[in-house]
Symmetry: C2
Subunit: 365 residues, 2 copies
C-alpha cells in the first residue's frame, strides 16, 4: 500500500502543458488586470510582474473545452477581482501597515477562491456584485495564511510567487500584524460591503467563513499537519484518514466556503447549497491530491517552487501512502464526483465550475 512516488515512472500530466508562447497570446490581457489609479498600485503592478507571468502560465493549460471556458471566465473576471482587491485595502494611515497588507494581497496568485465564489453565485442566478466583498475577503484570509505560514518560526520561506515574502520586506512584526489585520478586515468587509441580499444570509456566510478558517478549518488542518510531521520524524506513520483531514481542512475548507458562500449569496436553494458544498469538498480534496502528485512528478520550474519537497522531508502524501496510480485514480474519481453534482444544472451556466474541476485535475503548478 505504501509507495514512495519518487520511485515511480509515471509522469502523467506533463504532456498537457501548452507552450508558453501560445498561452500568453491566448490570455495576454490577464497581465494588465491589476490596474489601479494610485501610484502605489502602479508600483505593485510592476512588482508583481513575475507573479502575473506565473498566473498566465497557470492558465495556459486550457486544452479541453471546459478548461477553455474556465480560462475565459477567469480572464473575464480577473480585472474586476484585482480592482476590487485593490479597493478593499486602500493605502491609508498607518501607511506602512497598509502597504504591507497590499504587498501580499495584490501579489498575483490564481484567485481561485474569488473565481469559485463568483461562479457559484452566478450559476444559481445571483449577480457578481453581491458576492464580490466575500470573494475579496476569502483572498484576504488566504493571504493572511500565506504571510503567517512563511514566517521563520513557521515554514521559514524567503520567496512567495517569485517575490520576497512579506516578512523579508516589512519585518516579522509587521508581517504578523498585517496578517492579523487582513483576517479581521475580511469579516468586517463581508459585513459592511455586502449589499442587496438579506442580512440573515450574510450572517450565515460570516459564520461559515469563520468556521472554515479557524480551529475546525484551515488552522485545524495546519496544526494536524505540523503534528503529523513531528510524528513522521519519530517514525510514526500518518494514516490516510489523518492525511485526508489535513487536506480537506488545510486547503479544502476555504475552497468549500468560497463555493458555498457564492451559492448562499446568489440566492441558491438549500439543495443548491448542499450540492455545491459536495462539489467543493471534492474539488478541494482533489486539489490537494494533485498537489501531492505534482510534488513528485513535476519539475521545480513547472511548479514555481521546489519540487520533491514533500518526499525530501518524508512527509505523508497520497502518493507516498497509496502510490501514484491509485492517487491519480482517486483524484479522477473526486473530479468525476464533483462534476456529477453539477449535472442537474444548465451546463452552459455550470461551465465555469465544470472547467475549474478540469483545471484542478490537469493543473501543472
Amino acid at each position: 500500500m505504501v509507495a514512495s512516488c519518487s520511485t515511480s515512472s509515471l509522469s502523467f500530466g506533463a504532456a498537457r502543458i501548452s507552450s508558453g508562447k501560445s498561452s500568453k497570446k491566448r490570455i495576454s490581457s490577464l497581465s494588465s488586470s491589476s490596474s489601479s489609479s494610485s501610484s502605489s498600485s502602479q508600483q505593485r503592478v510592476m512588482m508583481t510582474g513575475r507573479a502575473q507571468q506565473q498566473r498566465v502560465k497557470a492558465m495556459a493549460i486550457a486544452d479541453t473545452d471546459a478548461e477553455i471556458d474556465f480560462a475565459k471566465y477567469v480572464k473575464e473576471k480577473n480585472a474586476a477581482i484585482e480592482q476590487a482587491l485593490s479597493d478593499s485595502v486602500p493605502t491609508i494611515y498607518p501607511e506602512r501597515l497598509h502597504e504591507s497588507m497590499r504587498y501580499s494581497l495584490l501579489a498575483g496568485g490564481k484567485r481561485i477562491r474569488p473565481c469559485l465564489a463568483i461562479a457559484a453565485c452566478e450559476m444559481v442566478g445571483g449577480k457578481q456584485e453581491v458576492v464580490m466583498p466575500t470573494a475579496c475577503a476569502l483572498e484576504m484570509i488566504h493571504t493572511m495564511s500565506l504571510i503567517h505560514d512563511d514566517l521563520p518560526m513557521m515554514d521559514n520561506d524567503d520567496f512567495r510567487r517569485g517575490v520576497p515574502t512579506n516578512h523579508k520586506v516589512y519585518g516579522e512584526e509587521m508581517a504578523i500584524l498585517a496578517g492579523d489585520a487582513l483576517l479581521s478586515h475580511a469579516f468586517e468587509y463581508i459585513a459592511r460591503e455586502t449589499k442587496g441580499v438579506e442580512a440573515e444570509k450574510i450572517l450565515r456566510v460570516i459564520a461559515d467563513v469563520g468556521k472554515c478558517v479557524g480551529s475546525e478549518g484551515l488552522v485545524g488542518g495546519q496544526v494536524v499537519d505540523i503534528e503529523s510531521e513531528g510524528l513522521a520524524m519519530e517514525g510514526k506513520p500518518v494514516s490516510l484518514e489523518t492525511l485526508k483531514y489535513i487536506h480537506a481542512h488545510k486547503t479544502g475548507a476555504l475552497l468549500e466556503t468560497a463555493v458555498v458562500s457564492g451559492a448562499i449569496l446568489g440566492g441558491g436553494t438549500e439543495e443548491d447549497i448542499e450540492r455545491l458544498g459536495k462539489y467543493a469538498y471534492d474539488i478541494g480534496l482533489a486539489f490537494q491530491v494533485v498537489d501531492d502528485i505534482l510534488d513528485c512528478t513535476a519539475t521545480s520550474e513547472e511548479l514555481g517552487k521546489t519540487a520533491g519537497k514533500d518526499v525530501a522531508v518524508g512527509k505523508a502524501t497520497y502518493p507516498s501512502l497509496l502510490g501514484l496510480e491509485e492517487s491519480q485514480r482517486i483524484a479522477d474519481e473526486l473530479i468525476k464526483s464533483a462534476k456529477e453534482q453539477l449535472s442537474v444544472y444548465d451546463q452552459k451556466k455550470a461551465a465555469p465550475l465544470i472547467g475549474l474541476a478540469d483545471y484542478i485535475k490537469n493543473r501543472k503548478n
Copy 2:
C-alpha cells in the same frame, strides 16, 4: 513641556489601595468563578489561581460607592462570563490547538471588555444573553492580541498574568495559529450565536468589531507604537498627537467597540450609541493615560509586571511628554467627560458604567 516622570515626587493613588485581607473578603467568591464541568477546565481553574488572585487584587480598590457598585456588578457577572468563555471553545479535535486556545482565553484577566459590553447592553434595556456571544468574542480577540504580542519576534514575554505565555507552553507555531483561530472564531461566534436580535444589528456589530481590531484599530495602534519606538531610538521625539493615536487605537478601540456593541445589541437608539461611544472613547484613553502614570508611580509588586519599563526604554508616555500632574489632570478630565455622557440615564442603571470609569481612574494595576 517634556518631563520625565521618574524625577517626580508625585505618587497619587497608592494611598487608595485597600489591604489584601479585607479586599479578598469583600469579593472572595470571584476566585471560584471559573467553574466548568470539564476536567480540563478544572485544571485551568487550578492553573489560573495566581491570575485569579491578581483579579481579586484588581477589584480591591473599590473604595467609592460607584466602584463598589462596579465590583458587585463584576462579581455578579463573572461566573456567567467565565462559563460562557469556557463553553465558547470546547476541547475538540485537534485537542492540542483547542487546549492552547483555552489556556490563554481562560487565564483569568479582569474581563473588562465583556463587563463593559454587558453593562452597556443592560443600561439601554437589553438582556445579558443577547450580548454574551459578542462579549466572549471580544475576549477572544483581546487574548489573540496578547498571544501574538508575547511572541519572541514581538515583545518576547515569558510570563503573562503570572503563568508562562502561550508559546512557552505550546511552542511558537501553535501560539501563532491559536491566535489566528481565536480571531476567526470570534467573528464566527458573534454571527452564529447571537440570538433574539435583528440580523442587521448583528452585522453592524461585526463590521464595528472588525474595524476596531484591524488596521484602523488595535493593529493600527500597535504598528504606530512599534514605529514610534524605532523613531524614539533614533532620537526623534513622538508627538502628543501620535501618542494619543496609539493609546486610542491600541487599547481604546476594543473598549469602545465593547460598549458600542452592547448598546447596539441591547436596542439602544442612535443617540444612546453615540453617547456611549463617546463615553467609551474617554475611558479607553483614560485607561492608557493611567497605565502610563502607573508605570512610573506604582511598584512592580502592585503592577504585577515590571514597573518603570516605559521610562527604561525611553518610550513616549503622557507623563514623559506632559509631566505627571498634567497627565493626572487629563485622566481626571477624561473620566469626568465620560461620566457626563451617562448623566441623562437613570443613575442606578448607569451605576456599573460609572463605577467602571472610577475604577479606571483609580486602578493600581
